[in-house]
């Protein structure tokens, strides 16, 4: 009979109307400024640069290898390699970015820079409240704005951060082992020949 479907539909909306007063499922709004939707751990917005330690300039992991700059699809990263070198977290002397700019007005949040970075130095932030009236001043992020401590990384992506710490620790361990081996080799070369090999060499 004419009207049956309409009445069914009306019943459905009425159920939702009254349900919205009693059921969470029927009132799905997250009242944003007052409450926030918890972000998933993988959530990504814009890249930031990780630094270790307290001094952001010293602790920056980035060595200005410029791979991300080349791979960035929308070309929003701008890096100027430094002329001098500074020691990185492993104590190795490395270049560092004299200029590291990301134009957030262009960035497409694709995470490719993170994927291609061999130094675990660029990661994705979850900050999204960046709207500004100033397009040129407010959205071109310089090195200083981009640098964030490892603790921040741990806070927003705990699993990834632990993994990348492990990678770095392993590399550092390898590096130290290598350095030690090299040192010992040097020592061995310097020392008289008939000396028993050190236990770590085996």
């Amino acid at each position: 009979m004419l009207g049956k479907g309409i009445i069914k539909g009306l019943a459905e909306t009425a159920r939702n109307f009254f349900g919205s007063f009693v059921s969470e499922r029927r009132l799905t709004t997250v009242p944003y400024p007052d409450a926030r939707q918890p972000l998933a751990e993988n959530t990504r917005q814009f890249p930031f640069l990780v630094y270790d330690g307290d001094d952001w300039e010293q602790g920056l992991r980035c060595v200005a290898c410029q791979i991300c700059e080349k791979e960035c699809p929308p070309q929003c990263i701008y890096i100027v390699k430094s002329k001098d070198k500074k020691p990185d977290y492993k104590g190795q002397m490395q270049f560092y970015p004299a200029v590291f700019d990301i134009d957030l007005a262009v960035c497409m949040s694709c995470q490719i820079c993170v994927e291609v970075c061999p130094f675990e130095s660029i990661k994705m932030d979850t900050e999204f409240e960046l709207s500004t009236a100033d397009r040129f001043g407010g959205l071109l992020f310089h090195k200083k704005q981009l640098a964030k401590p490892n603790a921040h990384y741990h806070r927003i992506h705990p699993t990834d951060a632990a993994a990348s710490d492990a990678v770095l620790a392993a590399e550092k361990a390898k590096q130290e082992a290598k350095a030690r081996a090299a040192a010992e080799a040097k020592a061995k070369a310097a020392a008289p020949a008939p000396v028993a090999p050190p236990p770590s060499a085996s």
Binding site: G5, G9, E12, A40, N42, R44, C110, I112
Partner: protein, 390 residues
């Protein structure tokens, strides 16, 4: 039909256009719908010639969102184009990812591990769910239902987007698939969350159907409107749910059996009238079939690697040659045609956009209908301008 008659330079038409010089009728009113119009789904434009409210002529105008995807991709590394495919059909980034990955895998001869194939199927079917749900909402919105179906659809879509975000890190622009696998593995608890969603989704479908399917206004508005016969649909390269709504059994998941679709037991719903109602209903029924696939895939998901060990992230240079890979995207046959000259960039990169080609017969379906029908016919075609104009 003889060859000579078929090749006289005329298109095959559903209805001959009424002669505009019919003095007895009212004066014809030329009106352009779009590029800014509530129901052109973006910046599409239709130049309408109306006789009263009856459509005498309709010329689609494209290009208001032509953002040169193909040209940019030809100067971009293969990987660099992946996030751009997200922005083709911005409702279904994961199926776009898959189609592109599939084409590149064909071009470079990469194998996808089993687990990655399962994840691809799961994400693709979730994408199909949210696309079809939202299409239903938008179609009803075009029909003038003040937002309620759309809100319900988006309520469910948000849940699926939560899954996407947990998996890929982004709600819409997932950039998830890689040549030879997927970017990252499922986060802990994801599978259970997805299973919960799949278990709850039929309740939403029931609600949606109770709200609308039997609604007399909806049936009166959609049945017999925008009829597309099967033979014309095939000839005009229509694909996807629209083709199946015309009664043609052609689902690339069944035909090409790409990925691991031959492992799943699902059916292909077919319409028989080829009108707006069939297109709408076929999509609703497809959602139920997708749920079947999802249930099976989530239950059977094997352990294992998610990337082909041969695949490389940087310095990817396929051998010269070409490949055309296509999948059954929610909107139809999404194909990628790639020509490699051996360099880091594709020499030619072409997207076969389903919703663009599905618009070919828009005029034929709309002629003789009312203005109000035009918007729902367009709505039932299910276009996304990012894909139409690329």
């Amino acid at each position: 039909m003889s060859i000579a008659a078929a090749t006289n330079g005329k298109r095959h038409r559903l209805v001959p256009p009424p002669s505009p010089a019919d003095g007895a009728l009212g004066e014809l009113l030329e009106i352009s719908m779009g590029p800014q119009h509530p129901s052109t789904h973006g910046v599409f434009r239709m130049n309408l010639v109306l006789d009263g409210e009856r459509v005498v002529k309709l010329k689609p105008v494209f290009g208001y969102l032509h953002r040169n995807h193909e040209k940019i991709a030809e100067s971009m590394s293969y990987l660099g184009s992946m996030p751009y495919t997200d922005r083709l059909d911005y409702f279904c980034s994961l199926t776009n990812n898959w189609a592109y990955a599939l084409a590149v895998e064909k071009l470079a001869g990469l194998q996808v591990p089993e687990r990655a194939e399962y994840i691809r199927v799961i994400t693709a079917e979730l994408t199909r769910l949210q696309n079809h749900a939202c299409l239903g909402g938008f179609l009803l919105q075009d029909m003038g239902a003040s937002g309620t179906p759309l809100m319900y659809a988006f309520r469910e879509r948000e849940k699926i987007l939560d899954l996407f975000e947990a998996l890929t890190g982004a709600r819409m622009m997932c950039n998830y698939m890689r040549f030879g696998g997927c970017r990252c593995d499922l986060p802990p608890g994801w599978r259970e969350q997805a299973q919960r969603l799949v278990a709850e989704f039929p309740a939403f479908l029931d609600e949606f159907e109770a709200l609308l399917n039997e609604n007399e206004i909806l049936m009166a508005r959609t049945q017999g409107v925008g009829v597309l016969p099967a033979s014309l649909a095939v000839n005009a390269s229509i694909s996807g749910p629209m083709l199946r709504a015309s009664g043609v059994n052609y689902d690339i998941r069944k035909v090409d059996r790409y990925g691991i679709y031959d492992r799943f037991d699902f059916q292909v719903p077919l319409g028989e009238h080829g009108d707006v109602y069939d297109r709408y209903m076929v999509r609703i029924l497809e959602m139920r079939e997708s749920l079947k696939i999802l249930r099976a895939a989530l239950a059977d998901l094997p352990e294992g690697p998610i990337m082909d060990p041969k695949a490389r992230l940087r310095g990817f240079r396929p051998k010269p040659g070409e490949a055309y890979g296509r999948i059954e995207a929610p909107k139809g046959e999404l194909g990628f045609y790639l020509i490699s000259e051996g360099g880091p960039h594709p020499y030619r990169y072409r997207v076969r956009p389903p919703s663009f080609i599905n618009l070919t017969i828009l005029e034929d379906m709309c002629l003789g209908q009312l203005v109000a029908d035009v918007v729902i016919i367009l709505g039932s075609v299910d276009i996304v301008l990012g894909e139409v104009d690329r």
